[in-house]
């Protein structure tokens, strides 16, 4: 970036749209397209070798998502920062709304009907929480962050939505939201020992928490510990998923040749278990390739964070990066039988509108941080 360009942005708030588009890292957009293409191929296979019903809709949603992402990327980061708390309030309101009026799905109240789209407020909440926390820590100096009293409001800001999500009940998303919040705290400079203290406390109350879990959640944890104990019941998904993954071998069974997927041994192959579909048909090579593409998104978020010249942008990038990372990690760890099964989709690859919407929203915010990385925002001068 030339000095001239930077000046353009720093001096002139209303920098031209074209200039901003110029600043968009198109290689990143290309990366997202590549991941979505992997998703298209996998969903084409999951649809039994047809674009309908999954792949075509996936492509459509992604196209819509790209437009939305680029639109958000054009919005000045300071405008976004100013909307952080109102956004947070909206998210909490939506969570309360699903708790009261939400549709019952899979024994939990998670969805809300917004016209034609189904929305999962808990997904949206994670992003809004990142924005709110980043806003809170934006002007906080190292010393200020060291003050425990200063940490009380943001802690409450995390606990309120996390509590609402856990109450739905949605253990997986609730824990991810807490971890995303924790990551922002960490990046903002909250002291080591406070994290150690929280972890120790969490370890202390875990047994009591386990007691309060729902039966299906406990079953998931037990099944994780010993999947073969109930091969036709709760353990079936994990076993079939591992069989699909393992039987792919190095090079896979070939496109549309996956027996586990095509003969319906894989549960929910178009959503949570889409990764096994890829691994079965394209082998270890395909699986690691997909993992690499997803890792590059995490790397990009880190780069954006390090490159931003304002704390708000840094924290937002870290939070969104961790959010994306956790999606990826939890999903793949789940299908490889490394952690208990939870309904976490694989970003940009799994079929599903709500997940695509929130992922693209996150990417849009990330791009906005990047495009507006050098804007005068906060205490960059004396």
């Amino acid at each position: 970036m030339t000095v001239f360009e930077r000046r353009l942005l720093t001096r002139d708030r209303g920098a031209g749209l074209l200039k901003k588009l110029w600043l968009v890292p198109w290689s990143f957009v290309l990366l997202l397209c590549a991941i979505a293409a992997v998703g298209y191929v996998a969903l084409y296979s999951a649809g039994g070798g047809a674009a309908e019903p999954y792949a075509s809709r996936h492509a459509l949603r992604f196209g819509f998502g790209v437009v939305m992402m680029l639109s958000i990327a054009m919005v000045d980061i300071r405008v976004i920062a100013r909307l952080s708390w109102p956004g947070y309030a909206l998210g909490v309101a939506l969570l309360v709304l699903v708790a009261v009026h939400g549709e019952v799905g899979k024994g939990a109240q998670r969805w809300i009907e917004l016209g034609p789209v189904q929305l999962q407020p808990s997904e949206l909440m994670k992003i809004l929480l990142v924005l709110a926390l980043a806003r809170w820590f934006h002007r906080a100096s190292w010393e200020r962050v060291g003050n425990p009293l200063f940490l009380i409001p943001p802690t409450l800001a995390v606990l309120l939505p996390v509590g609402l999500i856990l109450k739905q009940p949605n253990l997986g998303t609730g824990l991810i939201a807490a971890m995303v919040g924790g990551a922002v705290f960490w990046a903002a400079g909250v002291r080591w020992w406070k994290f150690a203290l929280i972890l120790a406390m969490a370890g202390g109350i875990a047994p009591f928490a386990y007691e309060r879990l729902h039966d299906y959640q406990r079953a998931r944890i037990q099944t994780f510990l010993d999947p073969e104990s109930d091969p036709l019941g709760a353990g079936y998904n994990i076993i079939q998923s591992k069989i699909a993954l393992g039987s792919g071998g190095l090079w896979g069974k070939g496109f549309l040749q996956g027996t586990q997927g095509h003969l319906n041994f894989l549960p929910e192959k178009q959503t949570d278990f889409i990764f096994t579909m890829i691994a079965e048909e394209f082998g270890l090579v395909g699986a690691l390739g997909t993992l690499l593409l997803l890792a590059l998104v995490v790397l990009f978020a880190l780069a954006v964070a390090l490159r931003a010249r304002h704390q708000y942008g840094r924290l937002v990038a870290v939070g969104l990066g961790v959010n994306f990372f956790l999606y990826t990690f939890v999903n793949i760890a789940m299908v490889t039988g490394s952690i208990p099964v939870g309904g976490v989709p694989l970003p940009l690859i799994s079929h599903g509108g709500s997940a695509m919407l929130t992922t693209m929203l996150g990417c849009g915010l990330l791009l906005s941080v990047h495009v507006h990385r050098d804007v005068e925002f906060g205490a960059t001068r004396e």
Partner: protein, 637 residues
């Protein structure tokens, strides 16, 4: 915030962000390791599991082998069973479909309950039998109404058909679904709808008749629906069995006899069973279509025991038909000489006991030949006393009495011949009086009609022939159908000849006990021996009052027995007839034996009819007539 503060904050952020990144990439590395482990290190194991998931091997039931009689007539066939099936997922409304169906062919409440239970238990694409054994008319009615019966289809299975029904039921047996006890290592038995032999030849040759299962490898999906066929290996159909019994002869015999009568006709030279009839019998076809509980109760509780083959499982004292064995034992032990005479005053005294001859006035002085001819009891009381029970028992066993004859009918009884040792093992003494009684075939003997026919065959030929039913198996002649297959009994021909002459005199000489049994016309000469065995003891008081058997209730009357062989000069056929409560061997059993023997000789002497010849072409292996007599001139001299 000061510039220094900002820089400090930024450096903290950078450090922590990099740490966070390192943690994230460490975890992603862990995932990569997990993937590598699953696909490379354990890949083969999972590949096998995936194949097991995908491929379902099913067995194809081979057609069961058929059973033919010695004339090539089919006696156990595989008939087609047309049945109506319902595929649940193809029916929009199962209840409505069944309702419509019951207007066409009424379904009972129980049937409907069974169908609905089957549907619930199986996957929705698995057909469920609605109705078995459809007639052509019923099938046509279903087909015509097909548009109103969504989900209903007609298909064809097989069922066992026994065209000779009750005539051969005891020999051929029947089939039924396998019970727990039938389960062996044959995977075929796991197939739904499979039948195994439950009795008779069907059971004895079950393994050969069953054949070997074919396999069908199918690709199935997670719910078990077949996606496509991968590989098909046809099974081996069951071997055909040809039995030695002649179905038409068997029918003729059965038409001639009444309830409680058993008849066994053997080829005396090789032991082949030509007819084996036990009245009453049962219809084995009822087992194929599923027997009702009421029918089963009726059969098992009936005093006439239709399910029991009395020729192999009925036990009788042989009475006077046993006297040849006693005579031969005495001759071998040199207890008597062939010409030695013993006086019969009508009774025999041993200590305080008096044993009566059947003829109150006595027979006077008799040698062995005439003692047999007149069936003198006193002669054999004395001979038995001289010979001893153990020698008699040993000779009985040489004639196939009280031993396992190894006939191809599972569950056959061996019968029983008492010995001194057996009695002592029971903790009771063996008295000389016991020996005397056993000399005339009374006492503890329990013998089957089959073993008596075997005895007659062995007397006729001097060979240790064993009765058997398998004429050919899988198109190859069975072992034991040549006379030379059987060893000699090792008895002097002179002794045998003497006993045979006694049997000849019984039938063919004036004063013989069974003159009635002479064969008519030019059918040759029959030799035999009567037997009459008491089922109730006759007391002295009754005897003095002038006891008359005819005045007794039927179940108190003696059993009537007759054993015979023919023709006398070249024995080919042996027969035993047992008429329960027939009163007298000469009166009830001998005429039956005569008529049946005449039928046998006539049937096998006649050249094969054109019909029989064409049957020959169909049958796997045939002998129109019993072994060694295929040429007409050899059949009878």
């Amino acid at each position: 915030m000061s510039r220094r503060d900002e820089e400090h904050r930024r450096s903290v952020f950078t450090r922590r962000a990099l740490l966070l990144g390192a943690g994230q990439f460490g975890l992603l590395g862990f995932l990569a390791y997990r993937l590598q482990k699953l696909t490379l290190e354990e890949g083969e194991r999972y590949a096998t599991l995936a194949e097991e998931n995908r491929i379902s091997t099913r067995l194809i039931a081979p057609p069961r082998g058929r059973i033919f009689d010695r004339g090539g007539r089919i006696v156990a066939a595989n008939a087609l069973n047309w049945r109506a099936l319902l595929v649940a997922e193809q029916a929009e409304d199962i209840g409505a479909t069944l309702e419509t169906f019951s207007h066409i062919l009424p379904l009972s409440e129980a049937e409907r309950a069974r169908i609905e239970r089957d549907i619930r238990r199986r996957r929705r694409f698995v057909p469920v039998v609605v109705r078995d054994f459809l007639s052509w008319e019923e099938m046509a009615r279903i087909e015509v109404n097909a548009p109103d019966l969504p989900g209903i289809g007609v298909d064809v299975g097989t069922t066992r058909d026994y065209p000779w029904a009750e005539h051969l039921a005891h020999v051929v047996g029947y089939v039924a679904p396998p019970a727990e006890a039938d389960m062996d290592d044959d995977p075929l038995l796991a197939l739904p709808g499979i039948r195994v032999g439950r009795a008779g030849v069907e059971r004895f040759h079950d393994r050969a008749l069953r054949g070997r299962a074919g396999t069908l490898e199918l690709e199935v999906n997670a719910v078990g629906r077949v996606v496509r066929e991968l590989d098909r290996r046809e099974g081996i159909r069951g071997q055909d069995v040809q039995i030695s019994v002649d179905a038409e002869l068997q029918k003729a015999v059965r038409d001639r006899i009444e309830e409680g009568t058993s008849v066994v006709v053997l080829d005396a030279r090789n032991g082949e069973v030509l007819a084996m009839a036990s009245q009453p019998s049962f219809d084995p076809n009822l087992f194929s279509s599923g027997i009702s509980a009421a029918q089963w109760r009726e059969w098992t509780r009936s005093r006439a025991t239709p399910l029991i083959n009395k020729t192999t499982n009925g036990l009788y004292a042989p009475g006077s038909t046993f006297k040849m064995v006693v005579g031969l034992a005495a001759l071998e032990a040199r207890a008597i000489t062939p010409t030695e005479r013993i006086a019969c005053p009508g009774h025999y005294d041993l200590g305080d006991s008096r044993f009566h001859c059947w003829r109150r006035g006595g027979h006077g002085s008799l040698d062995l030949r005439n003692a047999l001819k007149h069936s003198c009891d006193v002669y054999f009381y004395e001979v038995a006393k001289r010979t001893g029970i153990d020698r008699i028992a040993a000779m009985a066993r040489r004639f196939g009495l009280g031993v396992d004859l190894e006939i191809e009918l599972p569950g056959t009884k061996s019968g029983f011949v008492p010995t001194r040792e057996w009695r002592i093992r029971q903790g009771k003494p063996w008295n000389l009086g016991d020996t005397v009684v056993h000399g005339i075939g009374q006492g503890f003997y329990q013998l089957t009609p089959l073993s008596l026919a075997t005895m007659a065959a062995r007397l006729a030929t001097g060979r240790a022939v064993q009765p058997h039913l398998t004429h050919a198996l899988g198109g190859k002649p069975a072992r034991g159908i040549q006379a030379e297959d059987w060893p000699s009994l090792g008895l002097p021909e002179r002794d045998l000849k003497l006993v045979r002459e006694g049997m000849w005199a019984v039938v063919n000489e004036d004063g013989g006990t069974a003159r009635v049994a002479r064969l008519p016309g030019n059918l040759g000469v029959l030799a035999g021996k009567t037997g009459t065995t008491q089922v109730r003891r006759v007391s002295r008081e009754q005897r003095e009052r002038g006891f008359r058997v005819e005045s007794q209730p039927r179940e108190w009357r003696p059993h009537a027995l007759f054993v015979a062989f023919a023709p006398f000069n070249d024995p080919q056929y042996a027969i035993s007839v047992v008429v329960e409560h027939g009163t007298s061997g000469a009166g009830a059993a001998a005429p039956l034996a005569r008529d049946i023997m005449a039928e046998v000789i006539t049937r096998f002497r006649a050249p094969p009819s054109p019909a029989a010849r064409s049957a020959e072409a169909r049958a796997p292996l045939l002998a129109g007539a019993p072994a060694g007599s295929a040429a007409p001139e050899a059949a009878h001299r």
